[in-house]
Each structure stands twice: as C-alpha cells, then as structure tokens.
C-alpha cells in the first residue's frame, strides 16, 4: 500500500484539488463529483444575476463545461469553488448581455446610488418575522426584495452572505478590490434591511398591499 507523505508539513490538501487532478488526467467521474458538489450553488448565483430560470440552467452547463476545458489553467492558489464562481459570474453576465442587447451589463451597474447608506426605517421588527408569512409568501417577499437591489450590490451580498465566500474570495471571484467588496456589502445589507422593514416591522405587517 502506498501513501503520500508530506513530511513534516501540516498543510492539508483540499479534496477538490485531488478531484481536479484526477479530472485533468481524464477521469470524468472525478469531475462529476465536483459538478454534484457545486451545481446548486452555481444555479443560485446564476439565477440571482440573470433573474431568469432558463438562463440560469444554461449558465450551469456553460460554466462547468468551461471549467472542464480550462482545468489546466486552475492554479490551485485559490479554491476550486472560488475559481468556478468567477467563471459562472462571467457566464451569467454574458447571458444577461445577450438578453438586454445593446444595454451595458456589469457588476458595477448602479452602485453609485446613495440609497440605503443611512438607515431610515428605525422601527423594530417583530421578534419572529418569519412567523408572519407562509413559506411561499416569504419566498416571494425575499425574491422581490433582493431583485430590487442594484446588480453590483446583489451579487456581492449573494456571494458573501448567502453562499458563504469570504471577503477576499468574493473580491477574487468578482475582480473587485477588498475595500470595494466591503463597501458594497454594507450598502447591500442596509438596503435589504430597509426594504424588508416594511414587511417585518412590529405592530402588524404593512407590506404586501400597496
């Protein structure tokens, strides 16, 4: 039996790196494991960017295929997942450009707004806002609310807070600086909070009906 010893090194190799190595050598079943591990996340991210289910499905296919074709370029100095997310974000933006022919699409869209940089709705929320709505109504509220954010804020919030990437990984995946990610994240969080307040504030829900 042979074992690989990294004499004295405490550095752990991420399991994804081993799968990538096997996939590079032509082992499609190793790549299949990576697809199964990350396809839901890629689908969610793509959906948040394109806001279109069919486009998001296409992005899942295109992103994994592109990743497979470019496996040789994966350096291993970032996580495979971060590298994959970067490919998926680019594919999703390209898909969006096709839909909105002639219109510029980028993750810098509408980020100059000052909206939400200072909290205005200062009413406290119900102690259990989730109990105010049924599961599907809640889903609609959350979807509608996050869709209203500028693209450049939405994608930062999704990667950082929903998908759990670190600030550095989010910056890496989006090609932004760390300060830019931090500034967008704060404003994304504050804008979402502000917009959700009308549904979740104490003393009855005032949202829903317009």
């Amino acid at each position: 039996m042979s074992t690989i010893q990294t004499s004295g090194s405490t550095e752990q190799v991420h399991p994804d790196v081993l799968l990538v190595e096997r996939a590079r050598g032509g082992d499609v079943s190793a790549f299949e494991k990576l697809v199964r591990q990350y396809d839901r996340q890629v689908f969610r991210i793509a959906n948040h960017i394109t806001q279109n289910r069919e486009d998001a499905e296409d992005v899942v296919q295109d992103a994994f295929l592109k990743a497979y074709e470019k496996l040789d370029q994966f350096q291993g100095n970032s996580k495979f997942y971060t590298w994959l997310v970067r490919i998926a974000v680019n594919e999703a933006l390209m898909r969006l450009r096709k839909r909105r022919t002639g219109k510029m699409v980028s993750i810098d869209e509408d980020v100059e707004t000052e909206e939400g940089s200072m909290p205005r709705d200062l009413a406290d929320w119900s102690p259990d806002p989730e109990a105010l709505y049924g599961q599907s109504e809640m889903g609609e509220i959350l979807k509608k609310t996050i869709q209203g954010l500028p693209q450049g804020f939405r994608v930062v919030f999704v990667l950082r807070d929903v998908e759990g990437l670190s600030t550095e990984e989010t910056a890496d995946a989006l090609g932004l600086s760390v300060p830019a990610v931090k500034s967008r994240l704060l404003r994304a969080r504050l804008q979402l909070r502000e917009r959700l307040a009308k549904y979740f504030r104490k003393n009855g829900k005032t949202g829903g009906a317009k």
Partner: protein
C-alpha cells in the same frame, strides 16, 4: 461615538472582525442608542433570513438532466 462612526463598523461587528477594544466602544454606543441597536439586530436578521431561505431551488430532475448533459459533453472534449 456617533451613529455614523458606528455604522462604519457595522459589518465588521456583524462578521466578528473587531478588536476587543473597538467592540467595547461599539457596545457602549449601543447601550445609549436604540436606533443603532435596532439597525444592528435587524441587519443581522436580514442576513439570517436570506441564509436560511433558499430562493432559487434547482429541482432534482432538472439537476440530473443538467449533470447528464455536462458530463456527456465532457466525455467528448
């Protein structure tokens, strides 16, 4: 500490990335400022709600179809 100064540290406080000394200053501000306390708590709740509700679910049958299509193309690469 003013509310603007507190807000500038809000994300780091939520993400547990503040020093002990700064945390003490922020907590002191919170004891005196109900608005900032509400902003902190409701921002935390906002993140928690988005984390715990999967808005875009990939149905299993679609997932299987996509995986098959991806792997079939990979084998032809």
């Amino acid at each position: 500490m003013t509310c603007t100064e507190f807000l500038a540290q809000l994300d780091d406080l939520i993400d547990n990335e503040v020093t002990v000394a700064l945390r003490a200053d922020l907590e002191e501000h919170l004891r005196e400022c109900e608005h900032c306390e509400i902003t902190l708590n409701t921002t935390r709740k906002t993140i928690e709600i988005y984390r715990s509700h999967e808005i875009y679910v990939l149905p299993e049958e679609v997932r299987v179809r996509l995986e098959k299509a991806i792997l079939a193309k990979c084998r032809k690469c």
